[in-house]
Symmetry: C2
Subunit: 481 residues, 2 copies
Amino acid sequence: MAKDNKKMVDAITSMDEDFAKWYTDICKKAELVEYTSVKGCMVIRPYGYAIWENIQRILDGMFKATGHENVCMPMFIPESLLQKEKDHVEGFAPEVAWVTHGGNEKLEDRLCVRPTSETLFCEHYSNIVHSYRDLPKLYNQWVSVVRWEKTTRPFLRSREFLWQEGHTIHATAEEAIEETERMLNVYATFCEECLAMPVIKGKKTESDKFAGAVSTYAIEALMHDGQALQAGTSHYFGDGFAKAFDIMYTDKDNKKVYPHQTSWGVTTRLIGAVIMTHGDNNGLVLPPAVAPIQTVIIPVQQHKEGVLEKANEIKERLVKAGVRVKLDDSDNTPGWKFAEYEMKGVPVRIEIGPKDIEQNQCVIVTRHNREKFFVSLDNLEKEVDEKLTAVRDGLYANALANREKRTYSCKTMDEITEALEKNGNGFVKAMWCGDEACEDKVKEVTGVGSRCIPFDQEQISDVCVCCGKPAKQMVYWGRAY
Amino acid sequence: MAKDNKKMVDAITSMDEDFAKWYTDICKKAELVEYTSVKGCMVIRPYGYAIWENIQRILDGMFKATGHENVCMPMFIPESLLQKEKDHVEGFAPEVAWVTHGGNEKLEDRLCVRPTSETLFCEHYSNIVHSYRDLPKLYNQWVSVVRWEKTTRPFLRSREFLWQEGHTIHATAEEAIEETERMLNVYATFCEECLAMPVIKGKKTESDKFAGAVSTYAIEALMHDGQALQAGTSHYFGDGFAKAFDIMYTDKDNKKVYPHQTSWGVTTRLIGAVIMTHGDNNGLVLPPAVAPIQTVIIPVQQHKEGVLEKANEIKERLVKAGVRVKLDDSDNTPGWKFAEYEMKGVPVRIEIGPKDIEQNQCVIVTRHNREKFFVSLDNLEKEVDEKLTAVRDGLYANALANREKRTYSCKTMDEITEALEKNGNGFVKAMWCGDEACEDKVKEVTGVGSRCIPFDQEQISDVCVCCGKPAKQMVYWGRAY
């Protein structure tokens, strides 16, 4: 048993030794993805895709509860359409895939595979929005998009990735801004409650906003290694796209005016965030809300009379209680199974053998801290439910502790360099004058870029960390994925 | 009221006048789709997409109940990979979209946007299937695919369409054939029970099978105008793809052997099938299982005291009973609303006004036959449930009656021509010797092609309808979408 266990665990690189290798090892060994001959594109395998399905199901419910409807736009954008909004095309054109031929025929207007769908939504709005009665339109779509990245990593950066893109159009700027904030809050709630991942909510600096946006809001999370990860974005467009695409509506006073737009998205990157926030040297650790298997039952001495019967009975009880449960009655040893489901990050493990049955109990082990509990079968459903909650809470607490440990308040550039050298990567909280030159210089000198201007401001000092002039706001800085 | 009503209805072309125009009118007026500047691609609008979401949810449950797991393959296939299976590439290469540039860089190996994903699944199998222990793999994915069609029509034929593609790999031919049949039966059950659309199950002739398949099974439905529509296909590949992609596994006797494969799919075409099977001159008629709104509540004299309160109370009761219900309390007239939700094909309408409330009743109207029922509010949930079942059963019975009326048993080519001329398009049942020349000639002379060789055979005659030689089997023939 110990030997098998060791063999499985040996197969992953330690995260302290090589975090990047540890990450890709988990992606492969937990059977989340597999590489393909299409450079920068991957197969999302059943176990990885099931995580995405859970993310989709929960978020889709939250989108619908806030009044959004799903639609589906074409995957192609004619070059002429992409070019209508100047900033947008500049931002995206260099990194799109171009379709030049349909069958054997050369296309007159090249088509790009959507890198994002603002232009398609705008064209659609111009067809269907005419009066204030037609507003707002609150749309979303679950699709994949393509960006021709040079360096790729599973989930974090790939040429094709899955995402949802919300697109809305409103009568007023106020309504659109409110929507932008609402959806950022939906993302934050989802990340904190369902992914057990604390996030910082804030605004991107001018240099970092989405191509074509007036302002971009983001949620930023800190990974186990102290690098930041942008987990979701929400953009306010003002009426810039409406003007570029000639979208106008007749308001209540019978005047023709421009509507205001937003878009917002999260991607399969969230799976990468979950891996790097909660994973450990035994493999993946999944928050229960998105775990394909929430509880695995592993029979001990399963060939003894009554063991499999009891294991099945337990399984049926948990299924009935709404738990995603798996009973592994395969021929592998219990030790092999322990290691396998630890690798796969199953939050709760139940062990049951002849001795347990005799005592009307089972053993419950929580994945994130490997704590062991002897539990009466009489209270099984309640105990499992409590343990699943405990895993979520424990994961959140650990992630928050890591972020707090790795957040450094700095008043000078030297303090930044020192903090990072001494404590390793993390979030740096420091004041900024608002000048792009200072933003660039901080990055150049210390290596950390601006992550966001957080909604929750603190007064670390009165002056800019870089130039010493009066500071406008506090910024979170960090190295990012 | 009558005027509003008339106005809405006038907007659709009558199906007897111009069936094709009636069809596209419904697609637009029921707000299922909207055209785009991307030729042959469409926007699926919220109401249309919600139908697809219901189809997805039900089918996905049926796939998972039969042991299948969802995955996600890349949307691109390198040209070199597509070319590995000879028949397959011949069938698909002429109609794919080619990506030749990523950003500003020209690709060495062109990529096609997947027209179907056998080649990607095969590449993946070759990476993960090594031993009999790895088999079977039962996969499915919900994605969109692209085929560069010349003439396109919403849902029926478009350059990009949404679908699911199941892909499975098995140790033996028997298992794979069993899977092919199992999934055809899943499709048939879904179409008959959930879409209220009777289908013929059968095998495609050699000339009509999928590029690369040993045999293709299909379900064929008959539309209201007597044209046939292929509603789903299931393919048995034998070991042809395995040989082309060098997929081998070690069997229990430690020998290296080739596995056997299948694939199967249905598309957004099913929405077109629903429109053309059940729709009428007042618009769409939706089977309850996939209707985004199963019941609409329309208050009458809604400004009178208590009407909206009662309407809301009814709504809450139905929500609780699991009905997808909408209360339309907008300022439009009841007449306008009646026409609107008839156009949108909502299966059951509830009208409630002051007089109904006084008598503790409401009016229920079933969309497909416009029958009117006065129903006590005490039995509301039960009555609505029964009416929804009645709509499904009524739709199925009507569709079946239309198919039976339009199915002609013919012994000679002249009989075929005569039947079609006299009764209009429909299914022709006629015997066939199995010779492709006869198949072609039937089509050339009578205009109807082979749809399938049905599993349920009848002996219409002893000889081929075309050449008079001994017949091998009965074939369904018809004009097809």
